[in-house]
Amino acid sequence: MCDEREPLLAYLYAESDPEERRRVEAHLASCEACRDELAGLRSVREDLLAWDLPDHESVWKPFTPSRPVWSWRDVPAWTMAAAAVTVLAIGATGSVAANALIARSADPARPVPVLMTAGVPGASGAAHTAKAAVAVAVTPADLAALETRVLDEVNHRAQPAAERTSLSSSDYDKLFTVMTELNNALASSRDDVKTLRARVNDLSVKVEQLAQTQQGGR
């Protein structure tokens, strides 16, 4: 075949400039191989149109409008860390990422992103908590309990802002308790991981929305 791949491709997708287009058309008129090639590519493009998508309903729970920008600082640090660890545990993404998130949660300048599940290399600290992130599944009841706890905490906890921005030792105790409970629960069930992941995502979004509400309510 002629060396016309790039020009043919540009022609196929109507991205040739006019001069190039005229040249390709003149070439096609005299080259059967390239005509066949172009016809083959067009037929593939037609086949590709058949690839259906499943119905998709929005998964986005809209941010509440007319609120000032909220900050992670308004969410008690231990609840964010707990949510992060839950997501990580269920995603079984490993201990490095869990360490990173926990380490970052202790830094007031770097609020914890709950849904960020990508590992951050090189982080240190709180190594003994990583064990909690190893298991794979928890029961819906465990999550419901955690959810209630987190929501209660976000809704009712009245603390000076300064205390919310970092993990105090009692926060750590609470976090470890939650993680231990989770860890025990994780060992007991491996079912419905997807359902549970969805619930954790839900929970994370709720925490965010509560954070907004809290900020807006002041």
Binding site: E6, L9, L48, F63, N201
Partner: protein
């Protein structure tokens, strides 16, 4: 100006300044394409939905760092593709082709066919959809991504290069190679099904 007419750039600027509703609008505008990209990359609905949610949360948090050098959509596509790549690595496997009950290509053998039934009639759109999904899932990631961006998102070569942060010529090569592989696979499938059809007919007559 009606809010729905605002450009992505305007909405990004407003969202960055703290207008959450502007960000909601960006989500409404882009959620479906982002779901389509994630679904066609991963092959699994639920994981695609997770990726959609993660992608918009990341985009929201990344707004202060988004300098507007690229288009918002290119940036969003890149975030999505990175999340998909993370997912694939985490799962340590290739994208999964969904095969709902009754769409097994082998079920052709069970269908009542006559010698006058054309391949085109036999190969329903749904089955072609499955075949395309299968062939795409088997492509190398680079080629698959280039084809997704071009065929299902209508990006120009240059926009794909910007999104994937690679040279224009690389984009064209990946596209061409990917299309050529798809062509061979889809043509081979049609040939196989034509002979399967013949065999079925001969076996039942």
């Amino acid at each position: 100006m009606a809010p729905t007419n605002r450009s992505d750039e305007e909405l990004v600027a407003r969202a960055t300044a703290g207008d959450l509703e502007s960000f909601n609008q960006l989500v409404r505008r882009w959620e479906r394409p982002i779901f389509a990209l994630a679904y066609r990359t991963l092959g699994r609905e639920e994981d695609a939905r997770d990726v959609v949610q993660d992608a918009f949360l990341r985009a929201y948090r990344g707004l202060p760092r988004f300098k507007g050098e690229a288009k918002f959509s290119s940036w969003l596509y890149r975030i999505t593709l990175n999340l998909c790549r993370d997912w694939i690595r985490r799962e340590r496997r290739a994208p999964i082709v969904p095969t709902p009950a009754g769409t097994d290509p082998n079920s052709f053998a069970d269908e009542q066919v006559s010698p006058t039934t054309s391949v085109e009639e036999l190969v329903g759109r749904h089955q072609l959809s499955e075949a395309v999904a299968q062939a795409m899932a088997e492509l190398p990631e680079d080629q698959r991504t280039a084809i997704l961006m071009k065929e299902y998102h209508g990006l120009t070569f240059q926009e794909i290069a910007d999104t994937l942060q690679c040279p224009l010529s690389t984009v064209k090569t990946r596209l061409y190679q990917g299309l050529s592989v798809l062509r061979r696979r889809l043509e081979r499938r049609q040939t196989e099904q034509a002979s399967l059809r013949r065999a079925t007919w001969e076996g039942t007559s």
